[in-house]
């Protein structure tokens, strides 16, 4: 079985480097984007199996990226896990309503993020309530 492809979107290159490395170490293929338009482009081109999306980015807010992804037929089926350091209260509800599988608050525990990713690839998993993990 080929490696699962994950698109990691975050405007901070340091975070991208670190998390990508962690994901690769866990046998995932990682594509990284550091801006909204770039992430849409990569999503169309590479058809990832999962998207990890940072919600606050310049130029295009991660939330707009989420709406755009969900509006495109080809991309709407890709599960999205939202990562955020924002403490905005209604953010979680907004993202889940817009189609995100889960919202993860930074700083997250990598082990828990990996567990969540595993769950996203498990066809039998249930996502009734918005899940959120944070330390």
């Amino acid at each position: 079985m080929s490696k699962k492809k994950i698109l990691f979107v975050d405007d901070e290159p340091e975070t991208v480097v670190m998390i990508s490395s962690r994901l690769r170490a866990n046998d995932y293929e990682v594509l990284a984007a550091t801006s909204g338009p770039e992430s849409i482009h990569l999503a169309r081109e590479f058809k990832p199996d999962l998207i990890l999306l940072d919600i606050i980015m310049p130029a295009m807010e991660g939330y707009d990226v989420l709406l755009k992804l969900k509006a495109e037929d080809d991309l709407s089926q890709i599960p999205v896990i939202v990562l955020t350091a924002a403490a905005r209260k209604n953010l979680e509800g907004m993202c889940v309503k817009a189609g995100a599988k889960a919202v993860v608050f930074k700083p997250f525990n990598p082990a828990e993020l990996l567990a969540l990713i595993k769950k996203a690839f498990d066809p039998n998993s249930k996502w009734r309530r918005p899940e959120s993990i944070c330390e």
Binding site: E12, E14, T15, M18, I19, S21, R22, A25, A85, A86, A87, N90, E92, G93, V96, K106, P107, F108, P110, R128, R129, P130, E135
Partner: protein
């Protein structure tokens, strides 16, 4: 000598007061010029009021003459000795009281004048805005601060109706406040009124409208006190933003650092030597400690700002203690490392209170972690005692104890004493302050029993709330939000029919399991994050904010379908039936009492 009363203003009154003839008065007045030098300035025969001092001089002169002094001798005596010091003892009763009255009168007049002056000074110089209104809402007062704040002069405001003054503020809100104040006759406070400072910059006012009774009882004068609270609001907002920015800005780089260190340590990036691993491990511990400090700081600032909201649920404290002290728990590992015994002493069965489970765990974690840090040998024991109206939790150690002088510092922030140098997690200096805050938010108490060299016990209590109290608590909170946001609110109650007889028939445990299953199913059926489901022993309260009755009924029906499915799967007895009730705000009830009464009738 001219005897024209017009020329010597008040002379008749003066002569009456001192009880001498007018003729005598005029004769003396010539001499008075010598005695009271001021009179010369005006020319005594011309317009001049008799001052209190003049009258006193006259009174004294009369007294001296009556005693046999000549006019000249009396004048000389007054000139040399003055009047005030010896006047009183020398005066006859009559003259004394006259002079006293005169002095008193002029003192009162002077005081009134002073008070009036002071009042005007105060009114014009207070930094608060002050606007006076008569019963027809015409402006009667308009102080300097009002002039400055609104850029409207006193002349342009006084004697005009308030609404024609063209004040740039949310006049609808102000008028509503005025109406309310007139209706209730009570001081009315309105916060956050938008206004334009000097007609330019948007700001916020806080005003208090105070009713002032006048002759007509039902027609009140009003005083509006206002303060520009723009700066304060800005500060509050800045503090909130600061706290969340700190959390964001500190955590993001911390995550990167942690990941980097931990991946090198894990060997993801290649092999490392033992020494390198040792250093990285120490770094990782320090990073984690920094993360804990940030979290604790955020927690304590939220607790202090009363911004932390508890998610109250029926929680089994027994279960929490057992989990924390279970053989696989991190605390047991640490205890083994240190050669300590960590044990729990709890009553059998469930011990349930309404509490925030995560916060309760945080309290235990802090207290147990603290106890283990300061205990070198022996044990750390967690004891749970159930009382009629509360639970009491003890975390006791056989450590070094706390000295009398350190005791007051125990719950203070950043007060670490008796630091340990051994391995293990370093503290943040905030754990006990947070624990105390969390216990008190649960309306409990926390205290210490300690003996130097023998050990320390931290004891805290959490009161047991009744079903009604906890439901009311939840409804009150939700209702306050609904009113604030002008939203609707629906509340539903699911209850097990014939609860008591069912419990007798099937046993408490079975019914409790049924309730848990119901709770689980309902919680899974909730659609919005703000929706809440709270379980009591015999019922489940569901709170649906911003939901009107119609939507609430369809949501309740959906929940019913969900739990019926779950029940048939679990094979629960047909005898267990559930009654449901929905009450909506504002249609069915306006206050928490009304809503609660309809729900639990």
């Amino acid at each position: 000598m001219e005897h024209n009363s017009g020329r010597l203003y008040g002379s008749i009154e003066a002569s009456k007061k001192v009880k001498i003839s007018l003729r005598q008065l005029y004769h003396w007045v010539d001499i008075l010029q010598v005695v009271t030098p001021k009179t010369q300035k005006y020319g005594i025969r011309q317009f001049r009021r008799f001052t209190a001092r003049d009258l006193m001089v006259l009174g004294k002169m009369k007294m001296l003459i009556e005693k046999g002094y000549t006019l000249h001798a009396a004048t000389k005596m007054i000139k040399n000795n003055g009047i005030e010091d010896k006047f009183q003892e020398a005066s006859s009763e009559e003259n004394h009281s006259t002079a006293h009255l005169v002095v008193e009168h002029s003192r009162v007049v002077e005081e009134l004048r002073k008070t009036r002056q002071e009042t005007e000074l105060i009114l014009s110089s207070i930094t608060s805005i002050l606007i006076g209104l008569n019963p027809n809402n015409f402006v009667t007062h308009w102080n300097a601060s009002a002039e400055v704040t609104f850029g409207i002069t006193r002349e342009n405001a006084v004697n005009k109706p308030l609404d024609s003054c063209e004040i740039q503020w949310d006049s609808a809100a102000v008028l509503e406040g005025i109406k309310k104040c007139r209706r209730t006759g009570r001081p009315t406070r309105i916060n956050d009124i938008r206004f334009l400072r000097l007609g330019q910059q948007e700001g916020f006012l806080g005003i208090t409208i105070i009713p002032v009774k006048n002759e007509a009882k039902d027609r009140l004068d009003l005083l509006i006190f206002g303060a520009d609270i723009t700066e304060r609001k800005k500060l509050e907002q800045m503090k909130d933003e600061f706290v969340s920015t700190v959390s964001h800005e500190l955590r993001t780089p911390l995550t990167v650092i942690r990941e980097g260190v931990s991946q090198v340590l894990d060997g993801i990036l290649g092999p490392t030597t033992e020494d390198q691993q040792k250093f990285l491990a120490i770094s990782l511990q320090a990073i984690d400690r920094l993360g804990r400090i940030i979290n604790d700081l955020l927690d304590i600032s939220k607790i202090e700002a009363e911004k932390l909201e508890l998610k109250l649920d029926l929680v089994d404290v027994n279960h929490i203690i057992q989990e924390i002290t279970a053989s696989s728990s991190p605390f047991q590992f640490r205890a083994k490392d240190k050669g300590l015994v960590l044990k729990a002493n709890v009553p059998p069965g469930k011990v349930e209170v309404y509490a925030d489970k995560d916060k309760l765990i945080q309290i235990f974690t802090n207290l147990i972690g603290n106890a283990m840090k300061f205990t070198e040998k022996g044990s750390v024991e967690v004891v749970l005692i159930e009382q009629a109206d509360s639970i009491e939790c003890h975390v006791s150690d056989t450590g070094r104890g706390i000295s009398q002088e350190d005791l007051p510092k125990v719950f203070a922030k950043f007060q670490q004493f008796g630091r340990t140098n051994g391995p293990g997690e370093k503290g943040t200096g905030l754990g006990l302050a947070i624990s105390k805050g969390l216990v008190e938010m649960h309306r409990g108490q926390i205290w210490i029993k300690t003996e130097l060299g023998k050990g320390t016990s931290f004891i805290f209590t959490i009161p047991k709330l009744t079903e009604k109290e906890i439901f009311k608590d939840h409804i009150t909170k939700a209702l306050r939000k609904a009113i604030e946001r002008e939203n609707s609110l629906s509340v539903a109650l699911f209850e097990v029919k014939d609860f008591s007889s069912l419990e007798k028939k099937l046993g408490q445990e079975k019914v409790a399991r049924f309730m848990e299953s119901l709770e689980r199913s309902i919680k899974q059926s909730l659609r919005h994050k703000a929706d809440i489901a709270v379980r009591s022993r015999r019922g489940i309260l569901v709170i649906l904010p911003s939901t009107n009755k119609e939507d609430a009924l369809s949501a309740i029906n959906r929940m019913e379908q969900d739990y019926q499915k779950a029940f048939s799967k679990a094979g629960f007895s047909e005898e267990m039936r559930i009654t449901k009730k929905v009450v909506s705000f504002p249609d069915d009830g306006q206050t928490e009492e009304e809503i609660l009464a309809q729900l639990m009738e």
